[in-house]
Symmetry: C2
Subunit: 197 residues, 2 copies
């Protein structure tokens, strides 16, 4: 018990305790999602492995949960362009040097969640959400911590590092709104990509 | 002067004053980006037009700045899936009823920024960033407020409303990581979409 307590005290997720971070997640994400909290542990572990003093970007390999962990714990957001979200379906993220592309990738390691039935049930959706014991799931995530993950050194593809300069904004002859000129006759929305009826 | 002061007092961006919001933006986005602040005014105006008590999703028509305005002022984030980001290049956003798809779209209206040279210079990148007078630009955004925007009622395409159920997670025979089964022989990353060298 003493050991558990001292362990609980030790776990930090960025500047937060585990409990504080669940509150931060609830506020931003709408509820204390296990995926964002586990993601926070992963971001925290990645940050520790990154050399200090460099400017880094982030990449999430899933659209689910992880982007919010990154946005809450690093300077990288979707709106500032330092976070890229790719829908590859893997629960993994990378932080990498903006210049060299070298960095750290953290992924959830299937073999390591075998010992944590709550995590396994949640991750593989083996039981319906309603039947999951969230409290025990969060306790398992807390207990497992970064040992649930595989840590790799990676290098990002050069084409991802390239800053694409957008064309000057021009007015679309159809919708009369401004968009970055790419030599087309109209903006992407007016060329069939509009999300509206 | 008195009039200006009383006007300055009146402007609210969500629960924040204009000045408070610039600080919130600086903290989350890294700096008080004019686009996120203008976006905040747009989100605020959209929220006012939405019927109360409904569950809504959000869509940003640009990857730049606006996603952060939405994430800071609504329950919608990239990680919880209630915010969709499309790279259509238009400085516009929509909030819409999760069930019916009906909602409100706000876009920057080119004709209305003609009277605000700082905004025009910034938006059309007519002068280099370094030469821009950020203080005057923010004052112009404050002055223009939601009058800079066009407000439309919209209805989102039914296919965007559909919740796509992902397949159960299976282990990729190549990378040994879990991914949602879509009937392919390997995960998307191992099929050529990996962002790493």
């Amino acid at each position: 018990m003493t050991e558990l307590r001292s362990k609980q005290k030790r776990i930090r997720i960025g500047p937060f305790s585990f409990k504080e971070f669940t509150k931060v997640v609830a506020r931003f994400h709408g509820f204390p999602a296990p995926g964002v909290i586990l993601g926070g542990i992963m971001v925290n572990a990645a940050l520790k492995k990154m050399p200090s003093g460099i400017l880094f970007n982030a990449l999430s390999e899933t659209t689910k949960c992880l982007p919010d962990s990154i946005q809450l714990l690093t300077p990288c957001t979707v709106g500032n362009g330092w976070l890229q979200v790719r829908n590859l379906g893997r629960f993994a993220l990378a932080l990498y040097d903006k210049e060299t592309g070298q960095g750290i990738r953290l992924s959830l390691e299937p073999s390591r969640i075998e010992d944590f039935p709550e995590i396994k049930n949640w991750y593989y959706k083996l039981i319906p959400k309603e039947e999951a014991d969230t409290k025990r799931l969060l306790a398992s995530i807390h207990e497992g911590g970064s040992s649930l993950c595989r840590i790799q050194e990676i290098r990002i593809l050069p084409e991802i590092l390239l800053k694409v300069k957008r064309g000057k904004r021009i007015i679309c002859p159809q919708c009369q709104e401004a968009y970055p000129d790419a030599g087309q006759a109209a903006c992407p929305a007016c060329q069939g990509e509009s999300p509206y009826i």
